[in-house]
């Protein structure tokens, strides 16, 4: 229903999106191998950032748990990739993220603001240290090997996850659930009084966002081949989506996509040229973004656009 309405309203925009999708889908046929590898890591960051924004954007609950959901996906792959076919492994990885988020969501319903932030961050560290202890003391392994998959396969699977994610985000934004989520972010008590089942809605959206992170983790594990708990549950995976989404513009549909694509490319660029300074430059960009660009890159561009053309705010 929503899709049909959208097509009739914005034929140009949809055509443009279709064009981009076709270009991305046919890329491995003619582009150099390096471009595919680069796009793979960009897609990974986009998926994590967009799914983070799906929940944290409208509600304002800053979750630092992405590394937990992503890591659970990575670990699923490490445990099962040798015995099960790849699509099943990815499905289970997504499901593992979903279930973990459902559990966490149900537990943290009462926590708000800073308590929620701290709980989600604690979760990542808890999983990391517990699995580390388990691996060393119980199963007696310190690392696991994941069978590699062709670069193009990884790329296509990420592209499919990305497309499904964007579709879900778009449908959610334009549904009553998206508006309900927005109202939770603005005034939770009022939203509850309006008859929104606040806790169930928060938990389910949180779990859906974790589903995509888990699936992305499961496929990305095949890129790294060697997995240990410190690689799987890297706290940086929790910080990056926050940074990328805010840099891109958290209020806009394309903001997180642009923020993640920009940062993933900058990361690649800086790592190869300034391997010892890139995290430092990262920190500086983050500070500047928070101090001077509260609406993010997309917000900044729209502001400039408005100033030069005098048009009204485009709703994206």
């Amino acid at each position: 229903m929503d899709i049909i309405k959208a097509v009739s309203k914005k034929p140009f925009e949809l055509g443009f999106l279709l064009f981009i999708l076709i270009v991305l889908a046919t890329l491995p046929l003619y582009a150099p191998e390096y471009a595919v590898v680069l796009l793979t890591s960009i897609l990974m960051y986009i998926i994590i950032t967009v799914s983070w924004t799906m929940f944290s954007g409208p509600t304002g609950y800053i979750s630092l748990a992405p590394a937990a959901f992503f890591g659970i996906g990575v670990y699923t792959s490490a445990l099962l990739a040798l015995v099960l076919p790849l699509p099943v492994v990815i499905g289970i990885g997504g499901l593992a993220g979903f279930c973990l988020a459902l559990l966490v969501g149900a537990l943290t319903l009462r926590l708000r603001g800073i308590y929620f932030v701290m709980f989600t961050f604690g979760l990542v560290e808890l999983l990391l240290h517990f699995i580390l202890w388990w691996e060393v003391n119980i199963s007696g392994t310190t690392g696991r090997v994941v069978p590699t998959v062709a670069n193009a396969t990884v790329y296509y699977i990420l592209l499919i996850i990305f497309s499904l994610l964007m579709l879900t985000t778009y449908l959610l934004r334009n549904s009553k659930f998206g508006i309900a989520l927005q109202s939770i972010g603005e005034f939770e008590e009022a939203a509850a009084h309006r008859g929104i089942n606040v806790n169930v809605l928060k938990t389910i959206i949180f779990a859906i966002s974790a589903l995509f992170m888990g699936a992305a983790g499961a496929i990305m594990a095949t890129r790294w081949t060697y997995i240990d708990p410190k690689i799987a549950f890297n706290p940086l995976i929790s910080f990056m989506p926050v940074l990328m989404a805010i840099f891109g513009g958290i209020r806009y549909l394309y903001g997180p996509v642009i923020g993640a694509a920009f940062f993933a490319y900058v990361e690649e660029f800086l790592i190869t040229r300034f391997p010892y300074h890139y995290m430092l430059i990262f920190g500086v960009i983050m500070l500047v973004a928070i101090l001077y660009m509260p609406d993010g890159l997309v917000g900044l561009i729209q502001k400039l656009w408005k100033r030069t053309s005098g048009e009204t705010d485009a709703v994206t």
Partner: protein, 289 residues
């Protein structure tokens, strides 16, 4: 048996003293200045590395370094608040918005400070030996530097508590913690007081770093672990409560020591489980209102 218990308890208190000190600093930064300082551990790391440099290069006694590191870190913290956080506070629509944006700014600071430290000191683990001789205490044996650490942590903590409770500036800080707007109307220079609080928080972290470097190995990435521990302690003691942080720190040290005695690899896991159970059962902490 009794010796074992005494062993575990004393080891716990020795660790807990440092936890208490760094948590008091974080409690001040969050409870009063409203900055959830994810970069708290980085100030600890700066303190530890300055002490290490002064001891190994110039040969300055680590206890003298306390008087050098503290002020340096205090000034860094004060300037950071006046430049970054005051600006964010003015631009934020609500206290909740300020908490969010200041925390994100702290992430930026974490990356910057940590990587500057790696550029200066390298990424390797470092350490030095200072007062490492054994001391017998009621049948248990400990390194002298650890006992000294505990004594200094307790001393600094008490002095700081008296400062907050008895002096005029301390009163201003407590007023700002309760209601910044009203305190401002009562003649408290609120921007100055908040910046001082952030600076004092950094000062405690700097002291903590110096003491940590006396008995533990240090490296530029050590900060985050201490930050997380400090968070757990301030939730345990009740957000914003200075005595709570103090007691909470000693308690967590004890728990860590008991768990380490039973199953060495699991002390951090135990901290997180306590932390998460506490957040679910009594998020206001043991001394919280």
């Amino acid at each position: 048996m009794i010796v074992t218990i005494l062993d575990v308890v004393i080891a716990g208190l020795l660790m807990g003293g440092i936890y208490a000190l760094i948590a008091m600093g974080l409690s001040l930064q969050y409870g009063v200045a409203r900055v959830l300082n994810i970069a708290h551990g980085e100030f600890i790391m700066i303190g530890a590395f300055i002490t290490w440099s002064l001891y190994t290069i110039v040969g300055i006694n680590p206890l003298v370094s306390l008087a050098i590191c503290g002020p340096i870190v205090f000034i860094i913290g004060f300037i950071l608040y006046r430049t970054i956080f005051t600006r964010l506070r003015d631009a934020s629509a609500s206290p909740a918005a300020f908490e969010g944006s200041s925390m994100l700014a702290c992430f930026g600071l974490l990356f910057i400070i940590q990587n500057v430290a790696i550029l200066i000191w390298g990424a390797d683990i470092k350490g030095y030996s200072y007062l490492a001789f054994p001391v017998n205490f009621a049948g248990t044996v400990f390194a002298a530097n650890r006992l000294l650490t505990l004594v200094f942590a307790l001393f600094i903590g008490s002095v700081f508590y008296l400062f907050l409770a008895r002096t005029r500036l301390g009163k201003g800080i407590r007023a700002a913690a309760q209601d910044p707007a009203a305190a401002g109307l009562m003649g408290v220079n609120i921007k100055q007081v908040l910046a001082l609080c952030f600076g004092f928080g950094a000062l405690m972290a700097g002291f903590g770093g110096t003491l940590i470097s006396m008995s533990y190995n240090i490296q530029p990435t050590m900060g985050l672990e201490y930050t997380v521990i400090a968070f757990i302690v301030i939730v345990l003691g009740g957000l914003g409560s200075i005595p709570g942080s103090f007691i909470g720190g000693l308690l967590l040290g004890l728990v860590g020591s008991i768990v380490t005695h039973i199953e060495p690899g699991l002390s951090l896991v135990a901290y997180y489980i306590i932390f998460m159970l506490l957040l679910l059962a009594k998020p206001t902490g043991i001394l919280g209102k």
